[in-house]
Amino acid sequence: MNIKQANRMTKKTFLHLLAKEISGNISCDEKRRLDENLKKNKVLHEVYTETHRFMKPEHNRPAVNVEARLNEVWNRINTIYDENIIPSNNPDTGKRGLLPLWARVAVTVAILLLAGYFAYRMVTPEDLYTETITATDENLYTVLDDGTQVWMGKHSQIAYNKRFGIKNRSIRLSGEAFFDVAHNPAVPLTVLANGVSVTVKGTAFNVNASQPDVEVALIRGWVTVKDMRRKDSPEVLLHPNQKMMVRNGNTVSDNSNYTILSLVQAGDSIVPETRWLNDALVFRKQRFAGIAKLMESRYNVSIDIVNPQLREQRFTGSIKNETLPQMLDALKQSYPFSYEITDKIVIIR
């Protein structure tokens, strides 16, 4: 009999009040009513307890390294100001106390007025790294607008500016990628990875930033590497077949948080740093011209596309360990063409 009485509060009302409580807008009266009924009804009480236990935020989720992220954010902010040569409106901490507050405000206002136009036209972060490409659980091959070829490791991501190659070539990398940069001395290309920036003018190099330590391996051309995470770290010039490891340590007091090593070629004249390029990879909506470049470097051949229409045709697909003819046959399925392979030269019609 007792149970029947306790069950007076219908399940619907109970759920309604519980939902209100969880939503965060239960009134005092409603809360009292809910509590009273919970005391009387064992079943509802258990449901109530379990629901609330479940509502606790999940613990033991992967930790977020807030301090490191904050550092990165400051570095990125500083990079944005540095790259666009905007007068820094953050006075050096040492000088900060010298200026009275009103003067600081006046200076800030003046700088904002001067820089405002450019700041909004050119440096809004929206403009800087708006385009993103992400590799899922396969390596990804892609060609950027300026013709730069990028091999991206699994789960890596690049973000780059709009109208890439016209005024600006800024890439932000997380993970690992190999860049074969289209030559254009007028517009230097910068890759920012974990706060380490690599500046190039036309070259091929591998950046591995899957760990906090960043590794840059240079195959040809030259690049300069700068650790933006450290205030006074030098710009280091890297020569072909050199590898630079930049350790992630803010605590290191001297400047030698990097090491330069020579790349050691294995028996097949491939350095281990770039061996992953020959692993399975995917490409999405890539122009045939770009895929031809990919096949040239993968199969060590030279490819000549006779049909200009075919060049512009876009393909999506994946390569595992196919041979060159197998790959060409597969591509032929989605857009008809014929090919001839003689020695190391491929002619595609």
Binding site: V66, N90, P125
Partner: protein
């Protein structure tokens, strides 16, 4: 001297921090970052599956907060502003690479607050069930529910962030809670069909 803002804990001070940041106060920016970063990452994880992408999106928002700091004083509700910015940033990320699927699997919980292994196992079973149930809810229902559960937001705040009516948000919560109740009842052995027999046994005891 310690900045007093760093010590205060209530969210209502986000407005104050925004004002400080607009006057170039780096300490205020750091304080805001410490206070909000992790919360916003948890929130971003509702949209993008990959942890690093969620962190990236939140970092992007913070960079833009500093760059556009002169506009901060005009923002009426800074907390909502941050959540909405993160949401938009995540949706942009998803749009630019449709191959990333929105989160469907939650990281396994490795440990619960229960000490004895038996209790832990028992609870884990139910927890997994409920988690699966929530993941199967319609997109928006699940989102509102997760925002409340993982971010401690109210239905009202969810509504503002997702740009839906408060009533809709509350209905989402109601539906989710109803599903949970059914599952819990069944799990505890009070499933509707068995109700009478169970009762009888209880009475008999």
């Amino acid at each position: 001297m310690i900045n007093p803002i760093v010590l205060s804990k209530t969210d209502s001070n986000t407005k104050q921090l925004f004002l400080e940041i607009s006057t170039e106060n780096r300490d205020a920016f750091n304080a805001l970052f410490h206070r909000k970063y992790e919360k916003l990452v948890r929130f971003a994880q509702n949209f993008v599956a990959v942890n690093s992408l969620a962190e990236e999106a939140v970092s992007d928002v913070f960079v833009s907060v500093w760059i556009n700091r002169d506009k901060l004083p005009a923002i009426d509700n800074p907390d909502t502003y941050l959540y909405v910015s993160v949401k938009n940033r995540c949706l942009n990320t998803l749009r630019s690479k449709p191959y990333t699927v929105a989160i469907d699997e939650q990281p396994d919980i490795k440990k619960t607050e229960y000490d004895t292994p038996h209790k832990e196992m028992e609870y884990r079973e139910l927890y997994e069930k409920l988690n699966r149930l929530i993941n199967q809810l319609p997109e928006q229902q699940r989102l509102v529910f997760r925002m409340i559960k993982e971010n401690g937001l109210s239905a009202k705040e969810c509504a503002r962030i997702l740009n839906i009516s408060v009533r809709t948000a509350e209905t989402h919560v109601y539906k989710a809670v109803k599903k949970l109740e059914e599952e819990i009842t069944a799990y505890l052995g009070y499933s509707p069909k068995k109700k009478t027999t169970k009762r009888m046994i209880m009475l008999a005891l």
